[in-house]
Point group: C2
Chain length 218, copies 2
């Protein structure tokens, strides 16, 4: 499986790309600037030479041509980026990991997009995609620290159960991550907004929290 | 400290009342019908005779006359109940534990109240109260099972830090519960909506989940 990351040169996108390559996926990090994407891949493969065979950079069109695509742009340009690549993305799994957040006086607050979530907004912008919301709560720093497991539950939701299962299999390959089926895409509202709470806890307790749900047996 | 529970005869309200009495608080369970509240207290003290000295039933006015008040009505009558008792409640801590949820085709979905959360709606309905959002994720059944600890983090948010701290002290007395400062009341949106995810996981995995945040040292 070849995974493309639209707008993947930021901290979360590049860390995810490296992590996915480290567990055996072919990954194309995309960007509006193919040069920028190649530079980011060069930096990653200098740090982790074992990724060189699996990780490459390109423009967003190259990322959109992959089998499964992650949209890793800032939340407010996600829908535009998806629309620009709608033809390549049609019928494919599109993973939305964005959170609409704003920082007011040092405190993170969730913003509610008109359709309730970034994922719902993306689904409306690209109705032929199978949008799956996932990976919102993974801290970029830990994600990019390839030696260490992450130890976090990953809440996944989608209106297409088969796509949800495929994304769960991808997540399950990341050491320490446990995929959880959180139901339909309407729950992305709660999952995205909850990121503000996690970031707030990080600030308040000077740490980096990860959500775990007790009571679920393996 | 005497804690009143407005609309406290439902599963969550009565379980919370019993639990708070079990850790030493005087508790008045209120209801539109004082008789109904007294019946509920009678049932509780038959089961747990040691609560008899601390737990009583009354009308909502009696609950609103307490030092700290919890609003435990269904979410869509919370603001009305608060407004009806606004005079008694003015200046006091008012704990909002309601979640606006709907079940569609067997799946829980969060509803977004116009101000983003039930807590914000209540705060607008009773601007002189110090609204604190807390206790949303505690399952009523486990809460009412007084012998057992609950083993859950309790996310608390408020625009009044002193009130947040007082509620954190109350939560800290409940065995197994860890109070966490989740910042301002705007985060109630995320905390309330997240309940839909937890209920969805309960259905999906046939269990009862509780949220825990890893990475926070005691």
């Amino acid at each position: 499986m070849h995974i493309g990351i639209l707008g993947g040169t930021g901290p979360a996108g590049s860390a995810l790309g490296a992590r996915l390559a480290s567990v055996g996926y072919e990954v194309t990090i995309g960007s509006r600037s193919a040069d920028r994407a190649r530079d980011v891949c060069l930096e990653l493969t200098e740090k982790y030479p074992e990724l060189a065979a699996l990780l490459r950079g390109g423009d967003n069109a190259a990322a959109a041509a992959c089998d499964v695509i992650v949209i890793a742009t800032p939340w407010d340009s996600a829908a535009t980026t998806v629309q620009e690549n709608a033809e390549s993305l049609a019928g494919k799994i599109l993973i939305s990991m964005a959170n609409a957040l704003v920082r007011v006086a040092g405190e993170f607050q969730p913003l509610l997009p008109p359709r309730g979530s970034v994922a719902a907004h993306i689904q409306a912008a690209a109705p032929l995609c199978k949008v799956v919301a996932a990976l919102h709560h993974l801290p970029a720093k830990e994600l990019g620290h390839l030696g260490s497991p992450i130890d976090s539950d990953v809440l996944i939701c989608s209106d297409d159960p088969a796509s949800l299962r495929i994304v769960a299999e991808i997540v399950d390959r990341i050491p320490g991550c446990r995929p959880l089926d959180a139901g339909q895409l309407s729950n992305a509202t709660a999952i995205e907004a909850f990121t503000a709470v996690l970031l707030q806890l990080n600030v308040r307790y000077k740490t980096r929290v990860a959500p775990k749900l007790t009571g679920i047996r393996e």
